[in-house]
Subunit: 541 residues, 2 copies
């Protein structure tokens, strides 16, 4: 028995690019060696990245994996544990971990528990493994598990019975509010219960709608946290095992983030990774003087830098003067490119062209939608001409009830606040203002009553319940999966609940054509909530 | 042993509406009794419909299923076999069939083989069954299987070993080109191999992107086809088993459809069901004088009737006079409401508003997209004002390579030709003209070179390879999953293949925001091809 060092590589892969990922893993292994590490572990499926979706089914994946193994075989004098897709001779495909040293594969572990719920579709791609992997190294007995495995008590118990001292857990565990601490709490209890050291390494980075927060950690079998890596940061974290004390020495202890900081920084990371990895030079967004676009602008600037962000105010008859002022002020404070494009002539030309068709039909939301679509088309024109990605600014409350215009304010490639309820939008705006010397979002934007400004003196509350009530009903219906009757039974007004539920159900078609956006809740509108469009399910019980 | 009659209910459920489905099943059972049937079988999951997606996870499903069982218990004097979601006391959820008589459940079968590939996600929802169900009735031994089960030779063999004479197979098997005949051919071989009678009943109707074609059948154990129900039609089909001859008497033999008829009628069914079940009074589409919108119009009229269809021609500077003439002629021939809305003033107002931003930037596709988005916004305005659903008219070839404008010609709730390659669009147009006395699509629309008419003298072939080459490459890349290198090795021009593959990969973001549309191939752009947007996979091997 001797002392040794483990490096946890909190790694941000480029999904699908095995060559680039292997190269980066090689560099990280060399860096770990410089820090005297004996062992380096990478997250689940680190070679291709998670989730690679149907890329996992491409026939040439096996060849690409072999090539990447050749790259990794250049790593010398350190044991490397990493995730890869294991396609076997008998036609099976596993979500696997390899233990490699000096180009030799010492062992392969196939994930046993495949999540196939929520955002996960692993049974579409993988077969289940049925065997544990244990290896001795430096006089210490290691086991390997992959993500969902460690949430199955039966699986971990079996491994514990093999006299393993430290379990290396490779993860690609997506973020949701509170998840970083929840993992640590659960794993601390598990480590103590089974008397195991747990080295938990998690992927970091944004991938489409998923945020991976990292927050890797190492828990000693007595429940002591020997390492807590920072949330949302790529990096290499080395922990030492002291043979004499038979325990891991306490290393870096990154602070846990407060809820608003956790959400805000997650949105920043997701936006940065989406924009940069898609190859856009920058972003453009419509700045309305309202709080959603104001917060989106702040996130964009924090993600990319002011020089990469263009904001456009597109006023019309119903736009308040203070909206224009506040938009201009924020743009100035944040130092972004700002322009004003009035939409009167465009809306007029649409109305004139449609007049022969509309005749004397009464004015309704059609005319409001024309304003939103004029703005959407302007933003897309600027995007097409200069290459910046359009950020969509709608929040989860609006998207839930369809309080948004398809092809209008919904245009864009990334919807930063897609999974953020309006009540949380307010909290995030206040949080962002609290962390800089002068507020980046004008106070008036936060304090004035929300309005879409699509008709005279319009307020959101004219057609929607107050946001605290709306969000509570939405949370119960969407996140908690309660029925209409259940929600009414909780004490909410019957007519209001019926209206909200009906709107959520009816607006699935809008959400289906909306941009993707980062997931922060346990039930986002994405691969996680799959409802048919033609749908005869009646609200009620 | 005695003679008896089986009714196959080729049933079109309303997804999620268990009450309505149970009511219709009750009516069909009574109709079957009138025809002296002793047994009636419904498709897989007939009570909730297929696929119900995350409705299957709603907590109140169990109560709703119980209520529907009460409705069905009113059926007397006939054995009913139907599909339902079986949620057991121990928290398992199965895709099941019930055998019911006079309100008593005689047996329950839980599906053993759960497809979780392609368009299927059954492992997200269901546990696997592990037991066969066999019942004797009228001196005859029946077994029950559900859809995927009958494609597992091991499963069917086990059932055959229980001395079953007739297997009742409940299906919700989605259509793709040639599938109706393929099922019959495969099942004929299986019936003979295992000496089993197979009564195969399939769901019919459009459900979002899936078409269920019906084409139910009954094959005697000697391989004789005793029944072939028509493709795409709801109905009740009764077959008699003659005890003396110990075989099924030959009943209705619907003709197999030629390929183009099969596709065309499938698109008609899908469009009708989507529009009607979503509750739209009718549809509206942009008629450009090109073949895609011409074919979409014909399908819409055949699906809904001319009085439910509105067509709008939206000419601009680059629109040829013959385009306007041909559009007007087709609208007249088909008897649909037709209007013309010129878009010059709208495009001009956009250009003037954007001029201060664009400055002296050279003209590019931005200006083309403005035309497409002006048209999209006009269609959406008309849709919002009068309630008609916008049909999107793009084809699979265009969508594959992104030769279409997001929020422009891509607007709409249903994309009728989404899974139809351009070369098939031509075939379908000719087919449709061939079945009516006078052609409904003007000959010139079919014969002139395709053009988006977004810039002077533009032809599709200026920026794309000829459609027969393009479609062959797309088919190899998308349906056959060949790599770029594989396709080049087949003899296609390297530069052309590289360009096409790059375009397909890069335009995933457009497709992700596009309307749904009916699936007719083995690899549609829908739940069947799930690629990440941020995607570093390199073309090549």
């Amino acid at each position: 028995m001797k002392s040794f060092k483990i490096a946890l590589a909190q790694f941000s892969p480029y999904i699908g690019n095995l060559e680039a990922n292997a190269q980066k893993m090689l560099e990280q292994a060399n860096e770990a060696k410089k820090q005297q590490a004996d062992l380096i572990i990478f997250p689940e499926l680190s070679l291709i990245g998670y989730p690679a979706e149907d890329l996992l089914l491409r026939p040439s994946l096996k060849k690409r994996t072999q090539k990447a193994f050749e790259q990794l075989s250049q790593i010398k004098d350190i044991v490397v544990v990493f995730g890869f897709v294991n396609e076997t001779e008998d036609g099976q495909r596993y979500n696997s971990a390899a233990v490699m040293k000096d180009g030799q594969i010492l062992g392969i572990y196939n994930k046993q528990n495949l999540p196939n719920y929520g955002v996960f579709d692993e049974k579409r791609y993988f077969n289940e493994g049925h065997q544990h992997l244990v290896f001795e190294y430096l006089g210490h007995k290691f086991g390997v598990l992959i993500c969902e495995d460690v949430w199955s008590l039966a699986t971990v118990q079996q491994l514990a019975q093999l006299n393993v001292e430290t379990v290396l857990v490779l993860n690609s565990s997506p973020y949701e509010v509170g998840k970083p601490q929840h993992r640590i709490d659960t794993m601390t209890a598990l480590a103590k219960q089974l008397n195991l050291n747990l080295a938990y390494v998690n992927q970091v980075g944004g991938q489409d709608d998923l945020i991976f927060d990292g927050t890797s950690f190492l828990i000693s079998k007595d429940g002591e946290l020997a390492l807590r890596a920072p949330t949302y940061q790529e990096g290499l974290f080395v922990v030492e095992y002291e043979a004499e004390q038979q325990r891991y020495k306490t290393g870096e202890q990154a602070a846990a983030l407060d809820t608003m900081a956790e959400i805000y920084q997650g949105l920043v990371l997701a936006t940065r990774d989406y924009v940069q990895r898609s190859g856009f030079p920058g972003v453009i967004l419509g700045l309305s003087g309202g709080i959603d676009s104001a917060l989106t602008l702040a996130i964009a600037v924090d993600a990319l830098g002011a020089d990469k962000v263009q904001a456009v105010m597109m006023p019309y008859t119903y736009t308040a003067q203070i909206s224009v002022e506040d938009a201009a002020q924020q743009a100035k404070t944040m130092g972004v490119t700002f322009g004003i494009a009035e939409i009167h002539s465009i809306v007029n030309s649409f109305m004139q062209t449609l007049y022969p068709f509309f005749g004397n039909s009464p004015v309704d939301t059609t005319e409001e939608n024309l304003q939103a679509r004029a703005r959407g088309t302007l933003l897309m024109g600027l995007s097409n001409k200069f290459g910046n990605l359009v950020l969509s600014t709608g929040n989860k409350s609006e998207l839930s009830v369809g309080y948004c215009t398809l092809y209008g304010d919904m245009v864009g490639g990334y919807a930063v606040l897609k999974d953020v309820y309006k009540t949380i939008v307010f909290e995030l705006a206040k949080y962002r203002n609290s962390i800089s010397e002068q507020p980046v979002i004008p106070e008036r934007v936060i304090s004035r009553p929300p309005s879409a400004e699509l008709s005279p003196d319009q307020k959101d509350q004219d057609s929607l319940p107050p946001y605290d009530v709306l969000d509570a009903i939405l949370y119960a219906y969407i996140e908690e999966d309660l029925s209409q009757d259940d929600i009414i039974a909780k004490g909410f007004d019957q007519a209001v609940v019926e209206k909200v539920v009906r709107l959520v159900d009816r607006n699935e078609y809008k959400r289906r054509q909306g941009a993707i956006g980062p997931r922060i809740t346990s039930r986002s509108f994405s691969r996680e909530r799959r409802y048919p469009l033609v749908n005869g399910w009646k609200p009620g019980l």
